[in-house]
Amino acid sequence: MYEAVHAYPDGEATVARHAATAARHGYDGIVVRSRDALDPAGNGGKSPGDRGSIAADRDESPVRDPDALREEYGIDVVDAVEIDADDPTSASGAVGNYRSDRTVVCVVGGDDALNRFAVEQARVDVLVRPTADGGDFNHVLAKAARDNGVRVEFDFGPVLRATGGKRVRALADLRKLREIVGHYDAPYVVSANARSHLELRAPRKLVAVGEAIGFDAEAVREGLRAWGDLVERNRERRSEAFIEPGVRRGRYEEDGC
């Protein structure tokens, strides 16, 4: 099972601290949503353009190389990006920019236009926090998400950390989202949206919380595993042997015909 986290400078703990804690909690890997926390994988450790290339030369701290972190803590560390744009036009540009160098691309929802944009783009992997900040989700979006293979996130963060009316509203939104997503069989992921190592919770506890607020235990597990499936699929797509779904370059039987 995988969990998607916000790492320093976006969150309060570095990728390494998240990885160490997640390994103790029994996760198989973490997806790092923060753009500036990791170097993109698959570029030989060097990121194109901006600031990464300077940092890659010296012994850097905090560590930004996913492969080194993977080796040190024994769990998978995945480079992802979360696109938090004001409107669909700028989000679209950002998706185009990051799609080619990040393994997982998420779009932060939270307003109707952005939610709509995210589920209609097959290039987007996950629509995160669709109902935060008064965003809405409906059957049209659920169908589009299913058809385009965009996963919708169930954000357990407010359930775990908010109190009072804010939490009640988050729970009500989660229930609505759950009913719509369940009815249309749209793909989904589950995450606690941890911003520091202290906010990470073990998979079994997320399952227990999910059950307490009306989720099926297996659905929560499935949602945590879904991050892993997504990563595996995208890694395969980014590998050199991949041409298009169903077509790949490789060894074949030479004496067959």
């Binding site: 390494a16 909690h25 701290s61 905090p62």
Partner: protein, 159 residues
Amino acid sequence: MKHLPKHLRPRWRYVAVGIETWSDAEIGRRAFQRALWYSAGNLLGDAGSADADLTLLSFAHADGTGEAVVRVRHGHVDDARAAIACVSEVDGEPVGIRVRGISGTVRACEERYMGRATPSSTQRDVAFEGAERSATVRGDACDVRAESGRVGATTFDTE
């Protein structure tokens, strides 16, 4: 009062909980108990909270790490796990919580899950983001004081 006959006594499970905080945070037993009950009351309601019980039997916390034994009524362990997961801060200090295991007796719980030697913490300066910063290092964990506030790092980050 006379003991209840054995078949009428409540059956308990004892949950061993590992606690992690920032190294300069201090949390007390009463505050932790209050946070537990508060979170159970909010998540499960008064009725569910009374069912689960969640009485703190032992508690220790120092230097950003701690452990506790929580008593839970048999059959409500999953509810209790959810309520424990929802404890996100105690007295305004964020806490990370992990259920280490569950036993049927206090003794088994303590023998099996408690009293793990935690490495002692030291104050020293570490290199972080190209500058020397003061940090509290405990084992692999390393809480750095940066301009933006506290940052959780590891020794792998700073060496």
